[in-house]
């Protein structure tokens, strides 16, 4: 018994010793710049986590094969250490801690989703590790005064702002009546705040303001109210399940509404799952392949989409595109800083002003990208039932004319 205890304590002592004396390999090893990322490879965000990882990997390969990053006259290549955060914020924060203090990573890439980014940001901030993130859009990320957080995407409150303004414009500048249903998570509630702001500015009235639960799969009650009150615009945001449930039940219950605006249609593969029923839905997107932004690495959206399709076998959702853009931002900042000093890189990131295939990137003091508007696309189907997403707003990039109001179900 006693011997057992002694052996046990000996083993644990050795284990503790080992764990503290592991040689941490530094951020820049030889000719490699090592970035760290906690990504949701399992758990509820795993599909978007994989899109994020594919976007990162695509950019790493491309930058490395096109000459890498030049700092101080030497060429470096990117490498990423990934950990699976299991879609769990606590785990994500632990992994960020581990990446920084054990693996010695000095530059981070963001995880997927606002919630996980929120969990990691305090850690990177504490250690002064610059993090470029591509998938956390919640407004609250940019109001905390974080100095080391940079987001290449537009903040969540701008997602459906364009839709309301377009509806008002089409209504001859008069306010519209809005019905809205939002899930109760950080992201969707930020989208909601954006709508409230837009409604206030345009003199629009919110007549239905429903909240959706996390385990949403039935929103018939909201839709019955919509049928009764006949709003001009229906706004739904509840991640993939919100988009899918809304389209299914709107079609089944034959709800007629002149404009239907949503988020997450891309990830929900709306037209693939619902075919013609998804027609005319308006979707907010950070990016669309037909946008005409350009850079030297991916050329433009169409080329990026084709290359991505070749490598991963599916059309890139915006989550992948923005993730690829994060690497381009890092490369640009390293070269301008001409150093691997975290402070200098941070300052270079803050001064970023560039165009990528994904859009213009310029950070506000809060860290959000202020130089890239959201786009709206509309699902449009041809006679044979083949559906496509076409950009309809802002007008500068529109590849099709917005169909408004949505034809009644009885006329379809």
């Amino acid at each position: 018994m006693k011997i057992n205890k002694i052996i046990l304590s000996f083993i644990s002592a050795v284990a503790i010793l080992l764990s503290t004396s592991v040689v941490s390999f530094a951020k820049v090893v030889g000719d490699k710049i090592v970035l760290g990322a906690a990504i949701s490879l399992t758990g509820k965000y795993s599909s978007n986590g994989v899109h994020t990882q594919n976007g990162y990997n695509m950019a790493v390969d491309r930058i490395n094969s096109m000459g890498g990053v030049k700092v101080g006259g030497k060429t470096y290549k990117f490498e990423i250490i990934y950990y699976d955060d299991e879609s769990n914020p606590k785990r994500a924060a632990q992994l960020a801690e581990r990446l920084i203090s054990q693996d010695g990573v000095e530059f981070m890439l963001g995880p997927y989703s606002s919630g996980l980014t929120k969990a990691i940001a305090p850690v990177t901030e504490k250690y002064g590790v610059p993090m470029v993130e591509a998938n956390g859009a919640s407004r609250s990320l940019f109001t905390k005064g974080y100095k080391y957080l940079f987001a290449v995407l537009a903040p969540a409150n701008l997602y459906l702002d364009v839709a309301i303004r377009t509806a008002v414009e089409l209504n001859g500048g008069k306010g519209v009546r809005i019905a809205q249903a939002f899930e109760q998570d950080a992201f969707s509630q930020d989208v909601r705040l954006g709508i409230l702001d837009a409604a206030k500015e345009t003199g629009s009235e919110i007549i239905i303001d429903d909240k959706l639960p996390k385990e949403l799969n039935d929103m018939a009650a909201t839709l019955v109210k919509v049928k009764q009150m006949k709003p001009d615009v229906l706004v739904v945001s509840g991640h993939t399940k919100g988009a899918l449930t809304a389209i299914r039940q709107i079609a089944e219950m034959k709800v007629d509404v002149p404009m239907l605006a949503m988020t997450h249609c891309d990830a929900a593969k709306l037209s693939k799952q619902h075919g013609k029923n998804s027609q005319y839905a308006l979707c907010a997107s950070q990016w669309h392949k037909t946008l005409t932004y350009k850079d030297n690495f991916f050329k433009d959206g169409m080329t990026y989409a084709a290359d991505f399709q070749k490598e991963f076998g599916y059309d890139p959702p915006y989550q992948s595109a923005e993730s690829s853009a994060a690497l381009l931002v890092f490369k640009d900042a390293f070269e301008r800083a001409n150093s691997f000093d975290q402070k200098k890189v941070r300052d270079a990131l803050a001064a970023t002003n560039m165009q990528t295939f994904y859009g213009n990137i310029k950070f506000a003091p809060g860290g959000q990208n202020v130089d890239k508007p959201m786009v709206l696309f509309q699902v449009m189907c041809d006679g044979a039932g083949k559906c496509e997403n076409k950009v309809v707003a802002p007008l500068k990039w529109a590849s099709a004319k917005l169909i408004h109001p949505i034809p009644k179900w009885s006329d379809r």
């Binding site: 509820k44 949403l216 039935d218 009650a221 909201t222 109210k225 009764q228 449930t245």
Partner: protein, 297 residues
């Protein structure tokens, strides 16, 4: 608070009909739970996850071009064997132990199933399109998707079928005998081990039917099982074991309650209101029990 539901009478009708159709489906799941609880004294926390797995079977048939309504036939057959498999692997080791052990065991199975489904099918929300149309009532003031009517109809068919099976067939009689007194049944030559396996399989098959119906009417997702477990638990608690008409009634009652909670309190409190109701009923039952005990004293 929103009392629109009472201001427009048609919304009240709509809410009641929606609730009843939904409640019938819940009752089917609860029926399986009651069966297994009564026979084996096991509360199956993985009930909802079996439902979701059944839904995925229908979804995959849909993906391969088969109409998802056939899932109502195929899914229970596959799920029956899944159920028997779970019984042979895990449940037979806990079946004679106290309730707490079996709750832990099925809780573990539930977590395992969630993660396995997430691993195998991905975290995407999916659904199967039946292409069934819509029924309009009262000058189209009330709208009922045919998929909901279809699920309620199929649920009733399966429930009635199972009742007849339990009454007439040899296995059904053996199951009922085991539920009444396992030891006596064993002495009289009933292979209780087989009966337990079949009961667990039957329950999983019912979940399979319900899952297929849910993939047609709503959406499925690996992590969506728990609300279905809670609902069926609640229905069984209200109805009591072995009270089949009670299960049907309390199922429909719960459905209508949920719909009204949805309209009045808001969709975000829909599941929350079920939990609240569950707590209230448990407290009420306890209160009634304690009064009875005092009376005995």
């Amino acid at each position: 608070m929103d009392f629109m539901v009472f201001q427009y009478p048609m919304i009240t009708v709509q809410a009641c009909l929606d609730g009843i159709l939904l409640g019938i489906l819940f009752a089917l799941i609860a029926y399986g739970m009651a069966l297994q609880w009564g026979v084996m004294n096991i509360i199956n926390i993985a009930q909802g996850d079996l439902v979701i797995l059944g839904g995925y079977i229908a979804y995959f048939m849909y993906l391969y071009g088969i109409h998802p309504a056939w899932g109502v036939i195929v899914s229970p057959i596959i799920m029956y064997f899944v159920g028997v498999g779970i019984y042979k692997l895990v449940i037979n080791k806990v079946v004679d132990r106290d309730l707490f052990i079996s709750i832990l065991a099925t809780f573990g199975i539930s977590i395992l199933f969630m993660q396995l489904m997430n691993f195998a099918f991905g975290a995407d929300v999916v659904l199967a399109n039946s292409g069934y149309g819509t029924t309009f009532l009262f000058d189209s003031a009330v709208v009922l998707p045919n998929s909901k009517i279809f699920s309620a109809f199929v649920s009733i068919v399966f429930a009635i079928g199972l009742v007849i099976y339990m009454k007439k067939s040899k296995l059904g009689r053996a199951i009922r005998a085991t539920a009444q007194n396992a030891r006596a049944a064993k002495i009289l030559g009933v292979d209780t081990e087989k009966v337990y396996a079949a009961t667990f399989g039957l329950n999983a098959a019912l979940c399979g039917v319900a899952g297929a119906l849910i993939s047609i009417t709503f959406t499925i997702h690996p992590y969506m099982g728990l609300p279905y477990t809670i609902r069926s638990f609640m229905i069984v608690i209200v109805a009591g074991l072995g009270n089949l008409p009670g299960v049907a009634m309390s199922g429909m009652g719960l459905g209508v309650f949920e719909e009204f909670a949805d309209y009045i309190l808001g969709t975000e409190f829909r599941i929350g209101s079920v939990f609240l109701l569950l707590v209230l009923i448990l407290v009420y039952r306890r209160f009634k029990l304690s009064r009875k005990r005092e009376y005995l004293k």
